[in-house]
C-alpha cells in the first residue's frame, strides 16, 4: 500500500454538534498517524437567534437543534429558565418530562445499534432494530402527538398529561422492547464476529477519557463513572433508582454494551415512573418577563452531558443563551481515538460516538503520494473498505447475517 495522505471530509451536519465534522487524516499505509478536525459547516447561528426571540419562541428553536434528541435540549433550556424565574414545577410535570426523556433515550439508542451494525456490514441488525424502534415511536406519537420533536415542554411544566388508558399501552410496548433488547444483548455478547470487529477499536483509556473530556456512553465505556442523572439530578431522577452502566473495555465494543445496558435501565426507569406517577397539576403559570439572573443546567442526553447557560435581563427575551452539545466534547476524543488506528476502523470509531447517521456526502480524498493523483472515496466506499479489510482478517458478517435471518424466521 503506497504511503498516501488521506483527507477525510465528513459532512454535512451532525445536529448535536451544530456543525458537521471534517477530519483530515494522514496515513502511513494503513495506519492513521495524524488527524485534524474541521468544524463549522452548517453553523445556523442559533444562539444569536435566541437573543432576538422571546423565551417561548426560543423553546421551539432550541428544540430543533437536534432531531434525534430534541427533548434533551428543550428540557435543559427550560430548566435554566425555570431556575432563574424561581418556578416550582409540579411533581407530575417533572415525572412526565422524565418519562419522555427516557423514551427518547430508548429510540436514540435503538437507532444507534442499527447504524453501528450497518457501518460494519451487519445489515440485518439495522433492519431489525429499526423495525423494533417503530414501537417506541408509536408510543411517543401516542403521548405527544409527534414522532420526533415532541414539544412536550413549556415553561413551568408539561403541555400534555398521560391519561390512564395510555399507561397499559406504554407498558406492553416496553415489555416487547425489553424482550427484543435482551435478544440483541445476546447477539452482541455471543457473536464472535461482532466482538472481534468491535474490540480493540477506537481505544480510549480511562485517564485519556477524563483528560480529553469525553462524555456519555463514550466515557462510561472507558470506566468513567459519571452520569448527570445521578451526580446532578434534575427532573424526577432524584426519586428514581437506576444504576449507571459502566464498562472497562475502553473500546467500541464497550460502548455498544454500555448503550445496550442503558436501554435495559431505561425500561426499568419507565416502569418506575409510571408506577410512581403522582397526581396533581402538570404545569404552573409562568410570567412573560423572566427576572434578571443567570443559571446553568446539565442534562444527560443519549449521547452525553448537554450543558445550557441562560442569562436573563428582566425582559421577555434572554440576553445570552449558550448551548454545548455533547458530541462537541466527544469529537475531540475521536481525534485521539483514531490515532494509530486503521483507516478501516474510521467509520465505526466515528459512528461509535453516535454522530448523525444521515451524513450523505462523507467523502475521502486520497492523494497518492507517488503519482500525486487525488481520488475521492465517499463514506460507503470507506465503509466497504473497512468491511473488506477486516474480512481479510477472517472477520466477516455474511455468515452472521444469514444466521440471524434464519434464526428470526424460526421464532
Amino acid at each position: 500500500m503506497p504511503e498516501r495522505e488521506v483527507k477525510l471530509t465528513i459532512g454535512p451536519q451532525h445536529p448535536m454538534l451544530k456543525e458537521p465534522e471534517s477530519f483530515l487524516l494522514t496515513l502511513r499505509g494503513e495506519k492513521i498517524t495524524d488527524m485534524t478536525v474541521r468544524l463549522g459547516y452548517n453553523h445556523r447561528g442559533i444562539e444569536k437567534a435566541c437573543e432576538q426571540r422571546t423565551y417561548i419562541q426560543d423553546m421551539y428553536l432550541v428544540e430543533r437543534v437536534c432531531g434525534i434528541c430534541s427533548h434533551s435540549h428543550s428540557t435543559c433550556f427550560i430548566q435554566t429558565v425555570e431556575e432563574i424565574a424561581g418556578l416550582a414545577v409540579p411533581k407530575r410535570g417533572l415525572y412526565i418530562r422524565t418519562l419522555i426523556a427516557e423514551l427518547e433515550r430508548i429510540h436514540s439508542h435503538l437507532l444507534w445499534v442499527g447504524v453501528a451494525g450497518h457501518e460494519i456490514g451487519f445489515d440485518t441488525l439495522l433492519m431489525y432494530t429499526w423495525r423494533d424502534r417503530e414501537l417506541v415511536m408509536d408510543i411517543l406519537a401516542l403521548i405527544s402527538g409527534n414522532r420526533v420533536n415532541y414539544g412536550m415542554n413549556t415553561i413551568g411544566g408539561v403541555r400534555r398529561d398521560i391519561t390512564t388508558d395510555q399507561i397499559p399501552q406504554i407498558l406492553s410496548a416496553i415489555d416487547k422492547l425489553e424482550e427484543r433488547t435482551k435478544y440483541y444483548i445476546q447477539v452482541g455478547t455471543e457473536e464472535i464476529t461482532l466482538r472481534e470487529r468491535l474490540s480493540g477499536v477506537g481505544k480510549l483509556s480511562k485517564e485519556d477519557a477524563i483528560h480529553l473530556g469525553a462524555v456519555g456512553p463514550t466515557a462510561r465505556a472507558s470506566g468513567v463513572d459519571r452520569d448527570v442523572r445521578r451526580d446532578d439530578p434534575y427532573g424526577a431522577y432524584g426519586e428514581l433508582s437506576f444504576d449507571v452502566i459502566t464498562d472497562n473495555h475502553c473500546d467500541v465494543y464497550g460502548r455498544t454494551l454500555v448503550r445496550l445496558g442503558e436501554l435495559m435501565q431505561s425500561y426499568k426507569l419507565v416502569r418506575q415512573i409510571l408506577r410512581q406517577l403522582p397526581e396533581g397539576p402538570i404545569v404552573v403559570k409562568a410570567p412573560r418577563k423572566i427576572p434578571a439572573g443567570q443559571a446553568v443546567s446539565r442534562y444527560e442526553a443519549p449521547r452525553g452531558e448537554d450543558v445550557h447557560y441562560v442569562k436573563a435581563n428582566g425582559s421577555d427575551k434572554p440576553e445570552r443563551v449558550k448551548v454545548r452539545a455533547p458530541t462537541l466534547a466527544n469529537v475531540q476524543v475521536v481525534a485521539h481515538m483514531l490515532k494509530d488506528g486503521y483507516l478501516a476502523d474510521t467509520p465505526i470509531v466515528i459512528a461509535a460516538i453516535d454522530p448523525c447517521f444521515s451524513c450523505t456526502d462523507r467523502t475521502i480524498a486520497t492523494t497518492n503520494l507517488d503519482n500525486g493523483r487525488t481520488d475521492r472515496m465517499d463514506w460507503p466506499t470507506l465503509r466497504t473498505y473497512g468491511i473488506e479489510w477486516y474480512s481479510k482478517q477472517g472477520i466477516d458478517f455474511t455468515e452472521l447475517n444469514r444466521k440471524l435471518r434464519t434464526m428470526r424466521e424460526s421464532n
Binding site: H43, R64, R131
Partner: protein, 156 residues
C-alpha cells in the same frame, strides 16, 4: 406524437428514482425519509428506489434550511441530475427555512437556491406525508403533460 408522449409520461410517473440530500437539517426529516423506505411504509410499491448518484435519480429530496456553506453543494448536485428532474422539499425548514429563518447563517428554504416542484410541510414530515407528497408530485407531472382541456360550460 401524442401516444409516445403519453407512454413516456406514464413511465416517468411509474418509476421516480430519488436521491436524498441533507442541507443543514436537524435530522428529524432524514430519519423519517429513511423510515419511508423501510418495510413498514415501503415506497418501492410506487417504483421509488433510493439511488446513490445524481446521474440515476429523477427526484432530489432535500431536507433542512440551506446554510451558507452547503449552498454550492446543493447547486452542484442539482446540476448533475439529468432532465427531467424534480425537487421535493421535505419539512418546514426545507420549504421556508422554518424555525431557522432569519438566522445569519441560513439562506432560507430550498427554493431560494433551486426551483422546487413539491413542498411537504411538517416538522418532521411524517413518512405518510412524504409518500403523499411524492404521489401528488407524480400526479402534477401527469396533468402538466396533458394539454389543457378547454372548460366546456353547459354546451356553449
Amino acid at each position: 406524437m401524442g401516444l409516445v408522449q403519453k407512454i413516456v409520461t406514464w413511465a416517468r410517473i411509474k418509476s421516480p428514482w430519488i436521491i436524498h440530500f441533507n442541507t443543514g437539517a436537524c435530522n428529524a426529516c432524514d430519519i423519517e425519509i429513511i423510515a419511508a423506505l423501510t418495510p413498514r411504509y415501503d415506497v418501492e410499491r410506487f417504483g421509488v428506489i433510493l439511488k446513490g448518484t445524481p446521474r440515476h435519480a429523477d427526484v432530489l429530496v432535500c431536507s433542512g434550511p440551506v446554510t451558507r456553506q452547503i449552498k454550492d453543494r446543493l447547486i452542484r448536485i442539482y446540476e448533475q441530475m439529468p432532465e427531467p428532474k424534480f425537487v421535493v422539499a421535505v419539512g418546514t425548514c426545507a420549504c421556508s427555512g422554518g424555525v431557522f429563518n432569519g438566522c445569519y447563517n441560513v439562506e432560507g428554504g430550498i427554493d431560494e437556491v433551486i426551483p422546487v416542484s413539491a413542498y411537504i410541510p411538517g416538522c418532521p414530515a411524517s413518512p405518510k406525508a412524504i409518500i403523499d407528497g411524492v404521489v401528488k408530485l407524480l400526479a402534477s407531472v401527469d396533468n402538466a403533460a396533458k394539454p389543457a382541456r378547454e372548460l366546456v360550460v353547459n354546451g356553449t
